[in-house]
Symmetry: C2
Subunit: 401 residues, 2 copies
């Protein structure tokens, strides 16, 4: 049920080798284990879920990232290793230690990531047993296989690249992402891995990643539920010899990174569980960004608005309701609302020129753009979301069965 | 698809007469206009939606309640008269004025209420034309007809009574409520009307109503969406001659009122759009009530938890996720989680004695009780909600068609 087209084009990143195999966690024998290897002297940055119940691999990865630069990411799908307590931490560490034994890396150079069912012990013996198989497969060309290997309820791999000039030299950023439900990231989304061959200081890399996440993964929602396992990682191998600092290179790099992350984040929404619609919610002319974001989230997370999108119903009263319940300082008599270019509401009440026929023709589209002009200032925010369909209910009523 | 049984027992309230008719707003000819008449010298209290886009009748009713005691409530279903701007206010006022012409009441003694589709002009001529029909029908016995007349997507009327001694004399409280979707009240739920024959000062009545609402209608959620038209009204006719003040009568009255309002609020959840389950979420032993409420709301509003309830899936990882995303100060390593009396989670991780069979047997029930012990203090909060079913999506994808 994915909405729109998904590109599978990507460019390898010099200094990054990847491999993926099936280690037996997913019952159907699909690829479920991915290993990233980064060149010596790579720098790394990361952002993680703010869920209080951060999963064991998130706790370990956060510690390892703080302690040293990263050489390996070990990622499994099919099991989240979340709400597993101290045994879960031990499982995450023992899988990292197995990578160390094979590669000579130190423990903090290996970061673990997991995604899948919450609350079950990680079958760490499957992961350890598969390492001798995956290590010989490591190759710069394997990004698409890796994008498939981290999928759970995703139906499409999410992958993309940017190539651009930093000064006189071309550099590359490539990334993959996964996630289809339990998506309202509050730092990052389920799993995102980005790498560049640029040279980057750690602080610059972290800042670029955080700024870009706030315009991409932190601006999507599928079901308002925030995962225990969110992680978004960016590694700079430095192989190109070109630095992202100082300005104007840093701005160029961040702009390209943001563009790629928006593409990947929108890919997650387009492939949301049960999605039949891709919905953009743009709130403009607010007093401040917080007000705009509160209104946009209230609309994008409203089950009633989402079911109306699914039903092709231009039920704009539900947009009104959702704006009105937002925790924001609003003057409702100033608000204008548009579906694409059709104005539904002018100064807080129905536009006399609006007709149901106009609204219905837009709601029937696969992609719907809702725009709210608060007309109280100059701030703006944009979110992307999906509809709420029968298929979302079916997928999530039977996820574990 | 209502869950559990619905009583239609009630006791008339001396000093309250009601009538209902079909005035032609609902296309199927069902009852859609209700008129309440209260005895001279009645006192009244009310609480209203905090949605910024408060509907025209809410704006008018709030003003009229502030200006004088209430003699008449004029309620229509099928049209919310919301997001209708100044013309909507004029429509609400002209329907009140028509009641004044027939009864001699002053304008502020008549309060208008509307529920139904948002954003369409109220067909006020239908209402005015029906008044000569409904006025002769006014009778103390008509509470059940009124409960039916205010229904929209409700499948069952919600009605109840309490009779108890205040000092030496018996008094009565009777109430009706409606609502099945767009339910996360933030003062009251869609429409609730309560009356008593006790004598009550206005301030006491308002306090009793607010305290009781915070334990009943402000503790339910169906879809996290807050209506533009919420109103909860309580009128004391004084016909019994018994006063609710001072203590201990005031405590007795408030306890009985709260009990009735919980019954009506739970009735709304049991009759929620598409509901196949009635779910209680109790969060206990928190540092303070705000933390408990944040955790309870996060669980009760999680689409993933609600679909798991629909699917009979004891997917407790979703309870963990929902607790973890709550904006509260939590020590996850102390948290215990129960389904009814079965402990799923002990000290933040799966209870070793828990089995899927135990969990599945509880999730298969019509009524599910989720209990979270935060083990950080003595505060507690309880919410009631429903599951998220295919039928919810069907009802709301096609509400206007």
């Amino acid at each position: 049920m994915a909405v729109g087209s998904f590109s599978i084009d990507f460019k390898p990143v010099p200094g990054v080798r990847l491999g993926s195999v099936s280690c037996g966690i997913k019952p159907g024998g699909e690829s479920d284990l991915v290993l990233f290897e980064f060149a010596q002297a790579s720098t790394s940055a990361g952002i993680f879920t703010r869920n209080h119940f951060a999963a064991a691999p998130v706790i370990v990865a956060r510690q390892h990232l703080a302690a040293s630069a990263s050489r390996y990411f070990l990622i499994n799908s099919g099991n989240a290793n979340a709400a597993t307590g101290e045994p879960g931490i031990a499982d995450a560490l023992s899988s990292c230690q197995a990578v160390c034994r094979h590669t000579g890396a130190s423990l903090s150079e290996v970061l673990p990531f997991s995604t899948g069912v919450i609350g079950e012990r990680l079958p760490v013996e499957h992961i350890i047993a598969a390492l001798p198989t995956v290590l010989p497969l490591l190759d710069e060309a394997n990004w698409l296989d890796a994008a498939k290997g981290i999928m759970t309820t995703d139906t499409k791999p999410k992958i993309g690249s940017r190539q651009f000039l930093l000064g006189a030299d071309q550099v590359t950023i490539t990334g993959i992402a996964k996630g289809a439900g339990m998506i309202q990231p509050n730092m990052a989304t389920l799993l995102v891995y980005l790498a560049t061959d640029a040279v980057a200081g750690r602080a610059d890399l972290q800042t670029a990643l955080e700024q870009s996440a706030d315009k991409s993964f932190n601006r999507i929602t599928i079901d308002s539920d925030t995962s225990t396992n969110d992680a978004c990682m960016l590694v700079a191998t430095g192989v190109s010899g070109r630095s992202i600092a100082p300005e104007p290179q840093l701005a160029t790099f961040t702009t390209e990174l943001t563009s790629l992350m928006i593409e990947l984040a929108q890919g997650i929404v387009r492939d949301a569980e049960g999605a039949t619609k891709f919905v953009e919610v743009a709130v403009r002319k607010g007093r401040n960004e917080a007000d705009c974001l509160a209104v946009a989230r209230s609309i994008a997370n409203s089950p009633l608005l989402k079911t109306a999108c699914y039903g092709n119903d231009a039920n704009w009263g539900r947009i009104i309701m959702a704006i009105g319940k937002a925790e924001a300082d609003l003057d409702c008599s100033k608000i204008d609302i548009y579906l694409d270019t059709v104005r539904l509401v002018k100064d807080g009440a129905r536009d006399p020129e609006y007709t149901e026929t106009l609204g219905a023709s837009i709601m029937a589209q696969d992609e719907i753009r809702i725009r709210v002009d608060l007309n109280q200032g100059e701030a703006k925010e944009t979110l992307w979301t999906s509809d709420l369909s029968h298929a979302y209910v079916s997928i999530n009523a039977a996820y574990r069965t």
